[in-house]
């Protein structure tokens, strides 16, 4: 009985430790679907994209200089890959109280002004951001639709040249999606997402 109890305690401790370990997804994990409100008022879920081969999930926002620097490259990713089966889905992870520039109204304005061709959703509970383990904006997760679910194939930065000054930049996301489309192995499947830290809600 004692032994049984010890095992039970171990299992509980393991579960607690697992729950506390909030590192988010790693390459190879199956990513959870979500329901997030888009700037057009509709709810976005991965499951709605019947024809998709995968997704380019981008945690990004209005206010951050890195997000601004990458905005046109995010728009280009959708133009390049949505038709090939890898649409961009943008998620704003920030608490609009802490960062008013990232309010839903301001997101709507930016999406309309720039003519986003992809959904720009808000993670109001920040649960999706936490589950994925996004740390910064922009932070990209490339998912591939498979029989076992949406498998994370790439996590990190869009490229290694935020300011867009290096002609020999390494385009991590493009390389990853191209490899998936060609059925090849991804050379670099994980990089550091350099940008602004997520603005978490206070007191949660």
């Amino acid at each position: 009985m004692k032994k049984y109890f010890a095992i039970l305690m171990l299992a509980v401790a393991g579960m607690v430790a697992f729950k506390a370990d909030n590192a988010g997804y790693k390459v190879g994990d199956v990513a959870a679907d979500f329901k997030l409100k888009n700037v057009d008022g509709k709810t976005i879920s991965l499951a709605n994209y019947k024809a998709a081969k995968g997704y380019i999930i981008v945690f990004t926002c209005n206010h951050c200089p890195y997000a601004k620097a990458y905005e046109s490259r995010i728009m280009d990713l959708d133009k390049m890959y949505a038709s090939k089966g890898y649409p961009v889905i943008a998620i704003s992870p920030n608490d609009p109280i802490g960062e008013p520039a990232d309010s839903f109204d301001n997101m709507k304005k930016l999406a309309a002004q720039k003519g986003y061709t992809f959904p720009y959703t808000i993670d109001e509970t920040q649960d999706v951001t936490r589950t994925y383990g996004a740390k910064a904006t922009p932070h990209v997760y490339v998912l591939q639709k498979t029989a076992k679910g949406n498998v994370v194939q790439y996590i990190g930065a869009i490229d290694n040249d935020t300011e867009g000054t290096n002609p020999n930049k390494v385009k991590y996301v493009e390389n990853a999606v191209n490899a998936l489309l060609d059925g090849k192995a991804i050379t670099t499947s994980s990089t550091k997402a350099i940008g602004c830290s997520i603005k978490w809600k206070k007191g949660v």
Partner: protein, 159 residues
């Protein structure tokens, strides 16, 4: 009279210049590593950016540390991770906040390489602080904000 007017102009222009700019130089990885390898001094290196709220909030703590220990062998380096094209903005910011510590703008052809070289565990999020005591072979990196008390403790426990 002419001399008088001239000296007034000189004084005024001097004031103008000091109010408008603060020396902020570009610093690349090699230059930084060389600097902190100096065994005579403990280096407290703060990575920040003008656009990063929590960074701007904690800058005075680093300034206070430098002032408190001005007669000790400790050097605070404030390294802005703003874009390289923002040198003038960083200078203006440093001047308007009257920063007295040494301020640099990181020259980082590849951010991934720069951040990895500072610390493998650093996600790239700001603020981040590196403390190096080359004499004692101490090099620690913290991806967090510091209160003055925490910063003081960090220095005292690694001096």
């Amino acid at each position: 009279m002419k001399t008088f007017v001239f000296s007034i102009v000189l004084v005024l222009s001097g004031l103008f210049v000091s109010a408008q700019s603060k020396t902020v130089r570009l610093l690349n990885l090699q230059q930084l590593e060389k600097r902190v390898s100096n065994t005579d001094t403990v280096y407290v290196v703060n990575f920040w950016a003008t656009w990063c709220g929590p960074c701007v909030k904690e800058l005075p703590n680093f300034e206070l540390l430098q002032k408190t220990y001005k007669n000790k062998p400790v050097k605070v380096l404030l390294i802005s991770m703003d874009f390289k094209s923002k040198l003038n903005e960083v200078k203006a910011f440093a001047a308007s906040r009257k920063l007295t510590s040494e301020v640099y703008l990181a020259d980082k052809p590849s951010e991934q390489d720069f951040i990895d070289a500072i610390d493998k565990k650093w996600s790239g999020a700001l603020p981040g602080t590196l403390i190096v005591n080359a004499k004692k072979h101490i090099r620690k990196f913290y991806e967090q904000e510091f209160t003055y008390a925490e910063l003081n403790k960090l220095y005292l426990s690694n001096q």
